[in-house]
């Protein structure tokens, strides 16, 4: 019955319906996008190394900030977690594969086209999108380069891919759990992903609506966002952030899931509050729908609206706090070891919490008047997205890679990468808090002399951080090619869960007969 992967390279990867192969495709694609988005960031930081325009022109600078944001959010972070979901969810719930394998293939294979279209605009007349990843109208409509139509098309394809991926995850988890695997026994990674999938299904259509309205305004003479025709530019922001705020939780919830798997393993102790973690995740997801206008404290809302969005935003700190306390208490009285995945997870907890603190500060509308659209916000969301999502993604790869390929990565190199990344990350982004507080706005291609010093520090950190990623790439390739073979199904002494009952490396088909969960 069980047959192996196709021997033909093209039919194996192009036509694959195997969750492991598709997971692998997602992961490599997202890493490629991570390097591309990183290259854009290096260009930005090189230009900002000193005041004055040295390397690029302001128009191109704006294209770089926009493409960096879009590629990182939609190309690197989101597909990375979909890749992890593909690999791990069936193995964690005892299913043979994803529920909708052909759709799985489609949802991956349209992604490279979306990004090819997006990146190609950089080489077209008028240049690529230059209106920020938040693409506020009318800068992105009336005043946009003509290539904006390609951007809209690209966003539609990404949205379709995400929706298909989410439906697949929801269908898998609802229908394919092994006997005895009740909802409240599912590993937290699965839980956070189901909740994320529901968020995605709810808000991706809103994003599609926003770009469709743009398309109409640009090409068909409507005036959704054009004040001259009776439209309202602020409407755009409401629609965008109704998608955008849940989006930031779409990015972070699976990361919470990963960390909630890793910390118990290396503490050799079960997660402290499993059910409170599940409830906290659900409450965060719910709250994420009702706080969107905290990104719009300066658009001149009526004070009642502003107060409401401020209070609602402050509330998110409660379930977020519950999560952090749970991770720390899980470590308490454990028997801790500090392998690379654990190091990244601990750094996640510390730095994510730090980003949560600045989030709390941002939620205070009167103070946000000062912070908004400055480097303070840039620092905030890099603490939650880079030290949050990217660190946990890295942790996940180190944690599961031995299971995937049956070979051990080089621990010394992993730790080295961790320490460079950790230190460089803080050198890059900690000073950005100071820059923002001192008055440097974001998306600036040039700045006054009073910001020169911290910008230079930040750029140096950024180059170091970029270097650490090459080390990661090298370590992963080295492991797959020449790593020390292992065959212990558990890999990690403290690991618990169905995926660790499978042989190492995980065979091409697993759980063809479902396990029984007690």
């Amino acid at each position: 019955m069980a047959h192996g992967p196709s021997q033909n390279f093209f039919s194996r990867w192009l036509f694959s319906t195997n969750h492991k192969d598709i997971g692998t495709l997602y992961l490599w694609f997202s890493f490629a996008m991570f390097l591309l988005g990183g290259a854009f960031a290096m260009i930005i930081r090189a230009e900002l190394f000193q005041p004055g325009m040295q390397l690029i022109q302001p128009e191109f600078f704006n294209q770089m900030t926009t493409m960096h944001g879009l590629v990182m959010v939609f190309g690197a972070i989101m597909p990375a977690f979909v890749g992890l979901a593909n690999w791990m969810i069936p193995m964690m719930i005892g299913a043979p594969d994803m529920a909708l394998p052909r759709m799985n293939n489609l949802s991956f294979w349209i992604l490279p086209f979306a990004f090819a279209i997006l990146v190609a605009t950089l080489f077209m007349e008028g240049g690529g999108p230059n209106f920020g990843w938040t693409f506020y109208a009318p800068l992105s409509t009336t005043y946009a380069p003509d290539t904006v139509n390609y951007f809209i098309f690209g966003v539609h394809i990404m949205g379709a891919s995400s929706i298909m991926g989410s439906i697949n995850i929801i269908a898998t988890v609802m229908n394919m759990r092994a006997p005895g695997m009740t909802y409240m026994k599912m590993p937290l990674f699965v839980w956070t992903w189901v909740i994320t999938a529901f968020l995605l299904v709810a808000v991706m259509p809103v994003l599609a609506g926003a770009v469709t309205m743009m398309l109409m305004d640009i090409n068909f003479g409507t005036s959704f966002f054009d004040a001259a025709g009776g439209g309202d530019p602020v409407l755009f922001q409401h629609v965008f952030w109704f998608f955008g705020h849940p989006e930031v939780y779409i990015i972070i919830l699976p990361a919470f899931g990963v960390v909630s798997q890793i910390i118990p393993t290396f503490s050799r102790k079960p997660l402290f509050g499993y059910s409170s973690m599940v409830y906290a995740t659900a409450s965060i997801a719910f709250l994420s729908f009702i706080v969107w206008a905290h990104h719009m404290f300066t658009v001149g809302m009526p004070i009642a609206g502003e107060l409401y969005f401020m209070y609602a935003t402050m509330l998110i700190a409660v379930p977020t706090g519950v999560k952090v306390f749970n991770w720390v208490t899980t470590m308490y009285k454990g028997a801790l070891t500090f392998e690379t995945p654990m190091l990244f997870s601990i750094a996640f907890v510390i730095l994510f919490t730090f980003g949560g603190f600045t989030g709390m500060m941002l939620s205070i509308a009167a103070a946000d008047t000062q912070y908004h659209d400055t480097y303070f916000v840039v620092a905030h969301f890099h603490y939650v997205m880079v030290a949050g999502a990217v660190f946990s993604g890295t942790a996940a790869v180190y944690y599961w890679l031995p299971k995937w390929c049956g070979k051990m990565y080089d621990e010394t190199m992993g730790k080295l990468q961790f320490w460079i990344a950790f230190i460089a990350f803080n050198i890059t982004f900690m000073p950005q808090h100071f820059l923002g507080l001192a008055g440097m706005p974001r998306r600036y291609s040039d700045y006054g002399l009073q910001f020169a010093d911290w910008n230079m520090v930040s750029s140096i950190g950024a180059f170091m951080y970029g270097g650490a990623q090459l080390l990661f790439l090298f370590n992963v390739i080295r492991t797959i090619g020449w790593g020390k073979p292992i065959d212990d199904p558990k890999v990690w002494e403290g690991a618990e869960g169905l995926e660790w009952t499978l042989p190492t490396p995980a065979p091409f088909h697993t759980f063809s007969t479902p396990p029984i969960v007690k």
């Binding site: 800068l139 001149g300 100071f434 006054g448 002399l449």
Partner: protein, 381 residues
């Protein structure tokens, strides 16, 4: 380079040490600034105070949580021979760590609300000023005073592209700052002309988006004269970082004198419209106007940027009949970055820049455009 690195390191050390001591550092260390300015208005001080309260609350929570975490990482490591305990779930603890943060939040909501009420207290101003964001400059209009002017970046392209050393006020200097008096409640009515901009003066804690078709309001009242520099904080296109906000706060008497001077200027100007200008006069003035108002898009030699901003060299409009050329400057091109300059430039400036373009970079029309032509065009519309 090495010297700079050393200064960098020293600066880092001093600023880290002085962080808890003061929010506003001396001029010497200004480049190592770490904190928000306290500012000079009631609103900015309220914003600063709530910012500091939040920062200290977060610091205390952080010290507790991270302190506990570091203790655990030190004490409960396997290498010290500990055995993992196996406890989990404890309802009391879990309820406590939900309720306590919620209580802290409720306490924080009080000062947060009072501060916000201050921001919104825009009623009963003494002076109203309309602020309009343009790509990439600000226009200030004193409502009821018949005074209106543009405020544009003064830093030269040469400084920006490193062909000249950068001045002390690099990117923080404008052709004409906004001037307001001390001890008067000034209300800013902020709007946008093309895309969304955002008008920010940190020392007033005034930041409001300048949105086309909409007005947002903010206010400031201070007793401290001085020059306060701010910025545009909403991405508005390529020169987003090149449209600083500069506000000069003057003692009331000085402000009145400035106002009178401005009005006199307007009268004087009216008398020059009727005059016949010579080619040289127009060319000199035109070049100055062009480099401030047009070169940002059409580039210093009129060559434009392919696909975005058309070249003006040999353009059929520039070298066509004068009316068409005047028309495009008065009306702009709807739905493009080419805005109407009717409100931004005076008749003299318009005539000069049009004449200049028609006779530069190889364009060679041997007619002359006079301010009166512009006036006539405007009136005939």
């Amino acid at each position: 380079m090495l010297k700079r690195a050393k200064a960098l390191f020293l600066g880092l050390m001093t600023s880290v040490i002085s962080l808890p001591l003061s929010g506003t550092l001396g001029a010497e260390e200004a480049t190592w600034n770490l904190n928000m300015p306290r500012g000079v208005t009631e609103v900015s001080q309220a914003a600063y105070d709530i910012h500091m309260i939040m920062m200290w609350i977060c610091t205390v929570i952080g010290v507790l949580v991270f302190g506990f975490m570091f203790y655990v990482m030190f004490a409960h490591r396997k290498s010290r021979g500990v055995k993992a305990a196996n406890f989990h779930e404890n309802l009391t603890v879990e309820i406590l760590w939900t309720i306590v943060p919620a209580l802290i939040l409720i306490v924080m909501a009080v000062p947060a609300t009072t501060a916000l009420l201050k921001v919104y207290d825009t009623e009963n101003p003494d002076i109203d000023i309309k602020v309009t964001g343009y790509q990439w400059k600000w226009q200030y209009e004193y409502i009821g005073e018949d005074i209106k002017f543009m405020s544009e970046l003064r830093t030269s392209q040469d400084e920006q592209y490193g062909r000249e050393p950068k001045g002390e006020h690099y990117l923080r200097e404008v052709t004409q700052p906004l001037v307001i008096p001390t001890n008067k409640k000034v209300r800013f009515l902020i709007t946008g002309n093309d895309v969304i901009h955002s008008w920010w003066v940190p020392d007033f804690a005034v930041k409001r988006d300048a949105i086309p078709g909409l007005f947002t309001a903010a206010w400031a009242k201070t007793d401290q004269p001085g020059t306060y520099v701010g910025a545009c904080t909403e991405l508005c296109g390529k020169d987003h970082s090149r449209m600083p906000v500069v506000v000069e706060v003057k003692e009331e008497a000085d402000y009145e004198a400035w106002l009178a001077g401005k009005k006199e200027e307007a009268v004087l100007y009216k008398s020059t419209i009727g005059k016949q200008w010579t080619n040289q006069e127009l060319m000199a003035k035109g070049e100055a106007v062009y480099s401030v108002s047009c070169a940002g898009c059409h580039q210093s030699e009129g060559q434009g940027i392919a696909g975005i901003f058309p070249s003006l060299i040999g353009s059929s409009i520039v070298t066509g009949p004068v009316e068409g050329h005047i028309g495009i400057l008065i009306n702009g091109v709807a739905g493009s970055a080419m805005q109407s300059f009717a409100d931004q430039l005076s008749e003299v400036d318009l005539a000069a820049v049009i004449h200049y373009k028609r006779n530069s970079w190889g364009n060679d029309m041997d007619d002359i455009v006079q301010p009166l032509d512009i006036l006539n065009y405007k009136q005939s519309q």
